[in-house]
Amino acid sequence: MIEVHGLTVAGRLDAVAAALEPGRITAICGPNGAGKSTLLQTLAGLIEPDTGTVMLDGAPLPGGRTRARQIGYLPQVGEVAWDLSVAGLAALGRLPHGDRGDVPVAAALAAVDLAALAGRPVSTLSGGERARALLARVLAGEPEWILADEPLAALDLAHQLALLAHLRAAAGQGAGVVLVLHDLALAMNHADRVLVLDRGRVVADGTPERALTAEVIADVWGIPARWLGEPGARALVAG
C-alpha cells in the first residue's frame, strides 16, 4: 500500500491525500498542468515533497536501491541513449538488484511478447515494440509497484490495448499499477480506480464510474461531455 498525506510540492501539488492499493490499476487523470506527473514522481521518490509524506507499506519511502527494487518507474519520455539490444535494455531493470537476472529478464520479455526480438537493436523497433521493451525493463526489476507516466501516449489503439493487457497481467500477479493517463476513455474502461487532479488538488477519487462523471469532466476540463455505452465499454462524446 502506498499512502500519502498532506502532500504539497510548491506550485504543483496542494495537500494531496490518497491510499493506493496493490493488485489494482489506478489512473491519475487531469488537464495539463494539474500535477499528475509531479504526483507520480513524488510517489516514486524522485521529488521530495515540501510537506507531507509518502508511506510504503506503513513506513516512509526508502531511498536508493531499496526503493528501486520495490518501485519501478517508467518516465513519459522513453529515452534510450545507446542502441542496446532489447534484452540489454530490459536487463537495465536489474541494476537495483546488482545481478544479470537472466530469468526475470527473459520472463519480462515473454510477458510483453518480445522474447523473439531479444537480440534486436532498440533502434530497429517500431513505436509499439519500443514501448513494450521499455515496460519490460520495468517488469524485469520485479517491482511491487509499477508507476508509469503516460505509457500509452504515443501508441495506436491496438498497441494501447496490448500494453494495458500486459499491465493488467502484472496487476493480476499482485503488482500495484499507477498510470498517468490523458485518455479518459482508457481510464474509464481499464482502470480500477481513478484519481482526478485539478490545479494540484484531488477533486475526485473512486471507481472510474464515480470519479469521471460528466460533472467532474465539465468542472475540471471545462468541456460538456457524456458517456455512451455500458460500463467497461464506454465512449466519451462531447456535448
Binding site: 524522485l46 519520455v77 529515452e79 542502441d83
Partner: protein, 318 residues
C-alpha cells in the same frame, strides 16, 4: 558482440614488445650496443607511459560519452585537461619546470583545481547540463589564461617551450613520469569503472536513472575523480593528447553490448593500444625531427573520425 577485453589485451601484449624494438634505431636485443640500457631506461618507460596515458584517455572518453549520453563528448569537455595544461604552462612560464617533478606537480594541481571548481559549481544540483556548462567555462577560462601566458611569455625560449609542450609528446620521458601517471591512471580507471552501473542507468535518462537507485551526486563525484585522475595525470606527463578519448569509445563500442559501463575497460585497453601504436609510428617515421604525438593523433584522428561519423550516421544522433 565479441569479447573485447581478451581481444584487446591480446593485441596490447603483441604490440608492447614491438613498440620496445621500434624507433629511429630498430633495436636488436642481441646485436645493438647498450640494448639493455636503451630498453630499460628509454623504450620501456615510454611504452608504459603510452599505455597509461592512452588507457586513461580511453576510459575517460567512454565515461564522458556515457555520462553526457552523447557520442561526441570528449574528456576535454570537463575542463580538467585544460586545467592541468594551465598548471603545466604556469610552471614553464615561471621557469619551475627545470625540476622533473615540478611540472607534473603543477599540472596535477591545475587538474585538482579544475576538479574542485567543477565540484563546487555543479555539485550543488548534480544536474548534467549545469555540470557540462561549468566544465566548458573552466575549459574556456583555462584556454584564455594559457593564451595570455603565451602572449606574455617572459622570453622566446619560454614561449617555444610552452607551445611545444602543449602539442603533447612522449619524447624523453622516464620512469619518474611513469610513477606519476601509472598509479593515478589506474586509480582513475577504477573510479570510472565504479561509475559504470550509474552510467548504464543514465541510458534511460536522468529521472529513470534515479528511479533505478542511482545517486547523482555519487555518480558525479566518481566521474570528477576518475576523469581528473586519468586525464590530469596524462596531461601532467605528456601534454595535450587529443582525439583518443573521442575516437576510441567509437571503435570499441561495436565490440561491446553498447552499455556505457561495459565500455570503460575495453576503451582503456583500446586507448592504450592506440597511443602505443601511434607513438611507435611517430618514432619510425623518417622525418627530420620526431613527429609530436599530439599532432600525429589529431592529424590522423580528425579525418578518421569524420569518416567514422559519415559511416555511422544512421546510429549517431547529432
Amino acid at each position: 558482440m565479441t569479447r573485447p577485453i581478451p581481444l584487446l589485451t591480446l593485441l596490447l601484449v603483441v604490440a608492447l614488445p614491438f613498440s620496445l624494438l621500434a624507433g629511429r634505431v630498430w633495436l636488436d636485443p642481441w646485436a645493438t650496443p647498450n640494448a639493455a640500457v636503451i630498453l630499460a631506461e628509454l623504450r620501456l618507460p615510454r611504452a608504459l607511459l603510452a599505455v597509461a596515458i592512452g588507457g586513461g584517455l580511453g576510459a575517460a572518453g567512454a565515461a564522458m560519452q556515457g555520462y553526457l549520453r552523447n557520442p561526441l563528448a570528449d574528456p576535454g569537455l570537463f575542463g580538467i585537461a585544460p586545467g592541468a595544461a594551465l598548471g603545466a604552462v604556469a610552471s614553464l612560464w615561471f621557469g619551475y619546470a627545470a625540476s622533473a617533478w615540478l611540472l607534473p606537480a603543477f599540472a596535477l594541481a591545475g587538474a585538482g583545481g579544475a576538479m574542485a571548481l567543477l565540484g563546487l559549481i555543479a555539485g550543488r544540483s548534480a544536474g548534467i547540463a549545469l555540470f557540462t556548462l561549468a566544465g566548458m567555462m573552466i575549459a574556456s577560462l583555462a584556454g584564455a589564461l594559457m593564451s595570455l601566458a603565451i602572449s606574455l611569455a617572459p622570453n622566446a625560449f619560454a614561449m617555444s617551450e610552452i607551445v611545444t609542450w602543449l602539442m603533447g609528446a612522449l619524447t624523453d620521458r622516464g620512469w619518474s613520469d611513469v610513477l606519476v601517471a601509472a598509479p593515478l591512471t589506474l586509480a582513475g580507471v577504477v573510479a570510472l569503472r565504479l561509475a559504470g552501473p550509474g552510467l548504464d542507468a543514465l541510458t534511460l535518462g536522468e529521472p529513470a536513472a534515479r528511479s533505478l537507485g542511482v545517486d547523482p551526486r555519487r555518480l558525479q563525484g566518481l566521474l570528477i575523480l576518475g576523469v581528473g585522475l586519468t586525464v590530469g595525470s596524462g596531461v601532467a606527463v605528456a601534454g595535450i593528447v587529443g582525439f583518443v578519448g573521442l575516437i576510441v569509445p567509437h571503435l570499441v563500442r561495436p565490440l561491446t553490448d553498447r552499455r556505457p559501463g561495459a565500455l570503460i575497460v575495453p576503451s582503456a585497453l583500446g586507448g592504450a593500444l592506440l597511443v602505443l601504436v601511434a607513438d611507435c609510428l611517430c618514432r619510425v617515421l623518417p622525418l627530420v625531427t620526431e613527429l609530436r604525438l599530439g599532432i600525429a593523433l589529431s592529424l590522423v584522428g580528425a579525418p578518421f573520425f569524420l569518416w567514422l561519423l559519415l559511416r555511422m550516421r544512421r546510429e549517431v544522433v547529432l
